[in-house]
Symmetry: C2
Subunit: 470 residues, 2 copies
Amino acid sequence: MITAEIKDKLIRIVSDKNFEDNMTSRLVYSYDATPNFQSLPDAIVSPRNTKEVSEVVKICNEYKIPIVPRGSGTNLCAGTCPTEGGIVLLFKLMNKILEIDEENLTITAQPGVITLDLIKAVEKKGLFYPPDPSSMKISTIGGNINENSGGLRGLKYGVTRDYVMGLEVVLANGDIIRTGGKLAKDVAGYDLTRLLVGSEGTLGIVTEAILKLIPMPETKRTMLSLYQDMEKAAQTVSKIIASKIIPTTLEFLDQPTLKVVEDFAQIGLPVDVQAVLLIEQDGPREVVERDMKKIEEICKVENAISVTVAKTQAEADALTTARRSALSALARLKPTTILEDATVPRSEIANMVKAINEISKKYNVDICTFGHAGDGNLHPTCLTDARDHEEMERVEKALEEIFQKAIELGGTITGEHGVGTMKAPYLKLKLGEAGINAMRLIKESLDPNNIMNPGKVFAKDTRKRVVVSK
Amino acid sequence: MITAEIKDKLIRIVSDKNFEDNMTSRLVYSYDATPNFQSLPDAIVSPRNTKEVSEVVKICNEYKIPIVPRGSGTNLCAGTCPTEGGIVLLFKLMNKILEIDEENLTITAQPGVITLDLIKAVEKKGLFYPPDPSSMKISTIGGNINENSGGLRGLKYGVTRDYVMGLEVVLANGDIIRTGGKLAKDVAGYDLTRLLVGSEGTLGIVTEAILKLIPMPETKRTMLSLYQDMEKAAQTVSKIIASKIIPTTLEFLDQPTLKVVEDFAQIGLPVDVQAVLLIEQDGPREVVERDMKKIEEICKVENAISVTVAKTQAEADALTTARRSALSALARLKPTTILEDATVPRSEIANMVKAINEISKKYNVDICTFGHAGDGNLHPTCLTDARDHEEMERVEKALEEIFQKAIELGGTITGEHGVGTMKAPYLKLKLGEAGINAMRLIKESLDPNNIMNPGKVFAKDTRKRVVVSK
């Protein structure tokens, strides 16, 4: 509860304008992109600089008020849903690119910078920031760091974690620390940078980041390969990697997803095939040409019924954009869209897709599957209706079985969406009691009053989707 | 102290053969590659599997006996010196490569595998494990993971941390946990994998690792560029990167180092120049040729007095081997060789080398400098005599000033050697009280009895090199 006294203290820090506790604002920030999770915050506080963040945190620590740091709230794990009330710490005013350093190939940015704005800013200098979550048009860099976001270019270039070189972080006690730096090598102490990346705001609040850039690849080619046999598509993925080619992007869409995406994007995608691979390679011109030729051969050997290389950049962009629109396209069909991200070693992609189809039939639920095949990172997407409790119970059972299958195949319950509130009950499947216990010890040591995004990552009870949030 | 009762318990776990407490063995494991640090362990225990490690740890936790995990002891920060006695946990029997997975591009290995053996094993399959610390002929993978070892290929390929995908770890309470997996993407919980990498055995004991492999680059070329002006060499480094070329290797040697290396390796290196850059590029043939041509142009614009590309692989190997032998070559000159690894953003290389030269003069100590210029990771190497306490005091002052300068330039006190016992007193320069406090909270939460490599990372007192170890 935020008393009049606390409210007064917070306003004195951020100014009247940047403190909101009217019902409209509280409702706006009561949910994020995750379906079926909603909980009112007590207030929304928008700090203007790191010092203000530190002062706000100190107040919250003193009065044990939960803090939920938030960029654009595009996460899919209810990671920014204020499940235990408290304040939403909004980064809309800390949204500046502070520096692009062309000699050290780094960009320094505040957490509120929109991902795509950052990507475009470095591209102007001939530089490249590879992590490209599907939400990049609206997601923020701070959100990407908290969730360790992935994207379509992860196969070749890795994920957000691989590009975070240094952080400024406010800890639960209000301490401001700096980790890492513009340093290709740094082993001075524990790797707090990477411990914080993906910790979903539960260990500290990121107030600034130094990100690694790489030179912009010279050229890029895009290819579409069609299959009547899902397993052949999956085998193509394995064979490409086994032939020592690492494409930038190796995306998979099953037939139901294809249909919906074509209906939405209208770019002439085939809708009568069982599976599609969208393959991109970038790099020096000669190498890209050579790789694309080899990939085409592999696709044909694996019985692709058609392999086409995009002739123009516009055509290539249309294909990628269509793939990126998969979630939006699927979301139009049913009142509730649950996008999951069970992930397996890439050699197990075919087994996983097969299992998802069987589970979907077993529980009679509608699941479309697409995703980053090269990473083994699939997005089985359930089209349902949260108001239909009977169906939701089947959905939950189906998803739990999908997670169990992923673990059985050497995979994980979440490849890029995070744990948040939604996946917390399943985390034990991956880490076991001992693993979760180790994490909990770290959490309690850095945040003894549990004010940092409480209710996330660590399961409080067995609540999944059906039970209504308190 | 290991009582007869504890000894008996340990022997029951690992067998009589794998428990040593005779004075000869204790002396052998009383030091590592770090000069001037020595301290006797009470016993050396060589477990045969993870279960035995867990059982040994439980005993140690019960009786509060320090555990120092050890591979080959090649570290340069006194990270495996048993400063507080206890047992050295030796991994000589856990030295197997368990699997090379060509479909998922991973290798699974026990900690005792020699780095070069692992590199050679994957090369046979056309695969590549890039981290190549200079000690790789004798260092172990477990040691590399504990120290987050770097090497000569870090500029393009990163360091050990970037290749560790998953770990099996025994925690201080004896729990065996598994982190990560053969997964390109995994955000299920905190990134314990990377928290553990580089934590020098202070948070847990690595008993197995899944490492990432990449396809073997098609070809490699090696170039030597000579300068009469150190600053021009440093400018070359910056210009190569700014021209969007990332070479595999970009090494720098100053004149004193050159002389010593040539004297040792006898391969016809010039000894009358001020600085040398050893530059390697690998990748597809066309790209390597193109990059080497551009790099040559840059070197010439920066007044290199000679640029030569190695004509044969043997010639190239001779150059790299000579560079790798720098420490051994320097170590022949004086009784004590102190190899440091102050690291700065690469744009500050010229300033840093200049500062090292000035500091060396100021304190009248002998410092040769070489290192990974592309990473900003320099190795100022002090040739001295530990028995000469007056000189050692000047050495300490000089090194402390070098660390301060590195921090001032946005750098760090250690790029790849680790903190261990030796750098602990300097860690505050980089992390501040708040940063060290955050680390200490994590350490205490996971290892409340402080049995995991105690005395490392966290400074106990202000002891540096002069004061004799207790």
